[in-house]
Amino acid sequence: MGMDQAWLIPAIPAAAFVILLIFGPYLPRKGDWLAIAAIGTSFILVFPVLADLLDQADGTTYVAGEKAWEWLSFDLAGAGETFNIEIGFYVDPITIVMLAVVTLIALMVQVYSIAYMKGDSRYGWYFTAMSLFAASMLTLVLANNLLLLYAGWEAVGFCSFLLIGFWYEKRSAAEAAKKAFITTRIGDVGLLIGIIMLWLEGPNTFNIQEIIAFAEEGGYETTYLTAAVLFLFMGALGKSGQFPLHVWLPDAMEGPTPVSALIHAATMVVAGVYLVARMLPLFELADPIALDIVLVVGLITVMISATMGLAATDIKRVIAYSTLNSLGLMFVALGSSAVTAAMLYLFVHAFFKALLFLGAGSVIHATEEQDMNRLGGLAAKMPITAAMFAIGTLAMIGIIPLSGFWAKDEVLAVTREEQHIVVYLVLLSSLFITGLYMTRLFVRTFLFAPREQEVYDRAHENGLLITVPLLILGLLATVGGFVVFDEVGEALGFAGGFGQFVFLHEAHGFEFHLDVAVTSTVLAGGGVVFGWFLWRDKAELAASVRDRFAPISTLLANRYYIDEIYQFAIDHIVLGAGALIAWFDRVVVNDAGVNGSANIGYLAGFEAKFLQTGRLPNYALAIVAGILLLSVVMLVALV
């Protein structure tokens, strides 16, 4: 068992999916154990693969494992070349990080789901879809070529559609599922075009490493490459919910909460980050504008999501905005070419964000309520959940020594070094806002007096199936950040800290930037404290602030009206164009064109029939005229 067998990792959940799809309804417990066993096995299999990678590594020089099978191949006429598409798997440190995150979170979430989804009428289908998601996501991560990556990419999008729309009887869920799929699909248009562009001028292969090697030899023209990577980035925009395609992610919260934890926090939405990280050498070779665009998009997303998080009242939506916030941070890191920072943030983010969602799920499961305005004071009744949620919140805000802190400071340090000071300052200000709205979330949900007694009465701590995953994730969210230290890495068998495992050009050790750490902690802590005062007790202070800045708060509550603008565009432009073309088709093409030509024939015949007067002399004259005409013609011809 080594890197060559890495294909088993997605294959096992895929097999489970097929079995569940066909025999699921006939299995005991609808086959949930099969799905969990499959993802558990996959999780375990990550370790031998990792061990193999470390075994073969020489210091910090990693030898990637690659294995491929031919999927289709044909000769190109007259070109003497072959068009090949492979199914291939590629393992390197970035892959390993993703594999670990995906399998672990998926395992946690599925265990959690046993309790959370209990009694649902489509319990079996839930685990079937989850297995398909796991298989697709792992395929995406392991793919060695862009086409297989695209396949996994679309498949996870489809699973996301299925799972957001899991409770499809709810109109809002059906609409959210549709919105998510279509919005990400818009990005995928770009992704597909980008893939084709890279192939078109490239080395007649879809293999990612070969394309990168080709690009490094200067195979692509710079402007062409810039266009291609920006098209690729469009795909990442859609999938990772970056501005302006972020609108689907908050709505995606219509899905079951574990799904949100897995797909819309920890794994699928970071696929865009993964894609950009994977293709980062191309971004660097392209015109600098490419990375600048990544950075700016990330920055915009950070700011708008953080501010929108201030106004949302649904606890899941607040977490969704925080996810957007985090994803934006990752793109900011990528925009500065910092794969290490981005992947580290991705790694720890998976833990604390899954933790937050599962914690929120625990609350929702217990109280059947997810509106902050109707919760409050739950800490007393749900101590474990509240404690874990607190860890998640603090990690998200980035309080030392929780995992979020280390990752966030990496990003900040990189931006301060690499980018304009404005970027750094904007990020710092976003930290403050993050502190505000995360504090608000926690305070309003768990502390002070309950706002709805009835809801409060329902609340209770959940069973082990829910609390154990919470505890595990809580632990990881606490200590996950320590992987940055070389000592920790060495203790775990790595060559050093995270920076010596995941890097773009050369490994680098951990550096503690005291000034960054102090500034960020002060700002984040300030956010927490300020938030505490704003929303403590009955949140009178917050209410007065809101009233004072009424236009702004309305703007935020309405999410900058972006959804409305899109809705308007869809209703009036897209559907309008559809109606126009349908009208054009029926009236112009069909009625005027097709029926019209038929009518011309009919009318011509109708008019021509009056030549048949029925009067003998007319006919006789016509005959004579015809004969005369012919005779004259012949006479002229003969004479």
Binding site: K609, F610, Q612, T613, G614, R615, L616, P617, V624
Partner: protein, 102 residues
């Protein structure tokens, strides 16, 4: 003697007059009479060709005889039809018998 052209031109004149009659007249009987003129013109042509150009087989003369025979039959039938038309619809002008149109 008389050149053949004379007869042919005479025939042409008769035929043209008959044609004028057929086209210009309204009354069925008059049209019939014009048709007879045209037939006569044709027969003159036939006979002229027969006796001038082809005296050995003189097919034209035989044809002329047949034309006269058929003309007789035709007149008989045509007049019967005209009579019928007049009796049924009180019409003796052909341009009034225009039911067979459109």
């Amino acid at each position: 003697m008389i050149p053949i052209d004379n007869f042919l031109v005479l025939s042409a004149i008769l035929f043209s007059l008959g044609m004028y009659g057929v086209l210009a007249r309204r009354n069925a009987v008059l049209i019939l009479m014009s048709v007879e003129l045209m037939l006569q013109a044709v027969v003159i042509n036939f006979v002229a060709f027969a006796v001038y150009l082809d005296p050995e087989t003189f097919t034209g003369i035989i044809f002329g005889i047949f034309v006269i025979v058929i003309a007789a039959a035709e007149v008989g039938l045509a007049l019967a039809i005209i009579l019928r038309l007049f009796r049924n619809r009180q019409i003796s002008n052909v341009d009034e018998a225009d039911l067979l149109k459109w």
